[in-house]
Symmetry: C2
Subunit: 323 residues, 2 copies
């Protein structure tokens, strides 16, 4: 009985996968290391290895209705090729054609942030919403967009890359080739860079203590030191949130969704992020007093967002939902 | 026989109107001064006065199938209210309800840049295109967006305001309340400001000569002096085009249209604008080597763009086109 789905989340360091029910319950999970750096076309093999490991946990290939895969960067969801990713360094990788030869079930491929908004629409914080955006703050900044209930990919699946909107022209170098992209100011990597810079400036900052406790500078360092009243940390946090807000306001003025969800590890800061961002939207969005308000919330799916989003892609496609 | 349309283009200084055939021929034109500054609700009267003047040129109310109105800012195209405009200073103006009491034909209202893309789709440079964006460079920067053949207004008609994407966070003050909006760097007003600033810095620049000839500093001053090899003017022009390009690249990375049209008076510079902008898109758009290219062209409708766009709104609505 074909009532199970596979969701696969491709990242720079690892590939995570899960067996998922139509209701969004994860029955089994696996992770493999990514070996795709360079151009040796091994990603399809990595994914197949992961699928085989998942099925070996006591499932049957015949029970799998469909599999969904989410990857960073530009994908062609029609042909199943990964066109380009600035973060995992793949170009014109024929991922689905290679996989579909090996398995009897259909595969669906999309950008990981596009998968994330589908996951949140089916199982998370965008349930019942028709116009919603997710902004995932990780190594980069991914954006997934729903317009009138449908995933918006841009013409030829080559849009919805709002992490590569410039918000500070001429600013930080982005590995997409431009300077000043939203991603270079609002990603978790950007926060870590800002934190390290401020720690160099202020040797007495509690950020040193926090990073010693954790063993590294992370996206939490500045937030935890700010909780303890450290002025330098508060400056880092405020500036970082302002950066996120600039990008979100741009998205509001272009899409005016019902809700913008904040995803990725940083979203665990919850209302420390969403409260000031909500204030920015309410005050600075275009014609804020006259136009419909936009709600800022954290994404719900957290650690399993990648698997559930990718599985959601397969579930929505299989069920002929309008994506 | 109801085969004529009225197109009305509301601006900060004047309201222009025309009687237009379904094929886009303008049979008659009129202009009245705008008296809407402040909140005295006289815009409906101004528009009615203009319509009466147009009809008095030898037409019959019965021949008018529908009228379209384009205005700056946020409008509610469903209720016919102007919600908010930062440039004409109107708030919650019930324009269509007031007009529909006075005339037997239906009215359609939309943002002027949204009308412009419909005009170009029906009669101009976006003919046959399904995914197109127009960026009008005038007092402000307006954007009109077609996605899959349909006008994209954002939820509640409150999006598609890409002139209010920030491209230089913390930069020039915008009258929308933010700092660094695309509009403050790429509008004709921004070019004039940049030109004046450079003229103060360089008293020997040929821009002084050009502005003396024209009797004022205009959007042409720097372009004409640059044509004569003036270094300061070349700097202004290059910086201005770079600013436009930053906003266009943002739009490409989000929408990836087939074509972006440049409208407004500055677009008369033709390939002086479009050639360097095309180079920027081909080089810096996200995954440029792998994703579909985007063509940069000037809009075709020029001086009559406002009237034809607004009439186009009425024609498309009347003909049940998908807008």
């Amino acid at each position: 009985m074909k009532n199970l789905f596979i969701g696969i989340d491709v990242g720079g360091m690892s590939i995570k996968g899960g067996i998922v029910t139509r209701q969004g319950e994860i029955l089994a999970k696996e992770t493999v290391e990514t070996s795709v750096y360079g151009k040796d076309k091994r990603m399809a093999q990595d994914v197949a290895y992961l699928i085989d490991k998942l099925i070996a946990k006591g499932y049957k290939t015949e029970d799998i209705a469909a599999a969904g895969i989410g990857t960073p960067g530009s994908v062609d969801s029609k042909t199943g090729y990964i066109r380009y990713s600035n973060n995992i360094r793949l170009e014109n990788e024929p991922l689905l054609p290679l996989l579909e030869k090996q398995y009897p079930f259909p595969f669906f491929l999309n950008n990981d942030a596009n998968c994330a908004i589908i996951g949140e629409q089916l199982f998370g914080a965008a349930k019942g919403k028709k116009d919603a955006v997710i902004v995932t703050l990780g190594t980069g900044v991914g954006t997934g967009i729903l317009i009138d209930g449908k995933m918006f990919e841009g013409r030829g699946c080559a849009g919805a890359e709002a992490g590569h909107m410039v918000i500070k022209a001429g600013g930080n170098v982005c590995n997409c080739g431009r300077r000043g992209c939203f991603e270079t100011y609002a990603s978790a990597s950007a926060l870590i860079k800002m934190t390290k810079e401020k720690m160099l400036e202020d040797p007495k900052s509690l950020m040193h203590d926090e990073s010693n406790k954790e063993g590294k500078v992370s996206g939490k360092t500045a937030f935890r030191a700010a909780d303890r009243g450290d002025e330098s940390a508060i400056q880092v946090v405020n500036e970082y949130i302002q950066n996120i807000g600039e990008g979100l306001l741009n998205l509001v003025n272009v899409f005016r969704p019902e809700v913008i969800l904040i995803g990725g590890g940083i979203s665990k800061e919850q209302e420390k992020l969403t409260r000031p961002l909500q204030e920015m939207m309410d005050r600075y969005s275009f014609g804020a007093a006259y136009n419909p308000p936009v709600e800022i919330k954290t994404a719900l799916l957290e650690n399993d967002a990648g698997i559930l989003g990718a599985a959601g892609l397969a579930i929505a496609s299989d069920g002929n939902l309008s994506i």
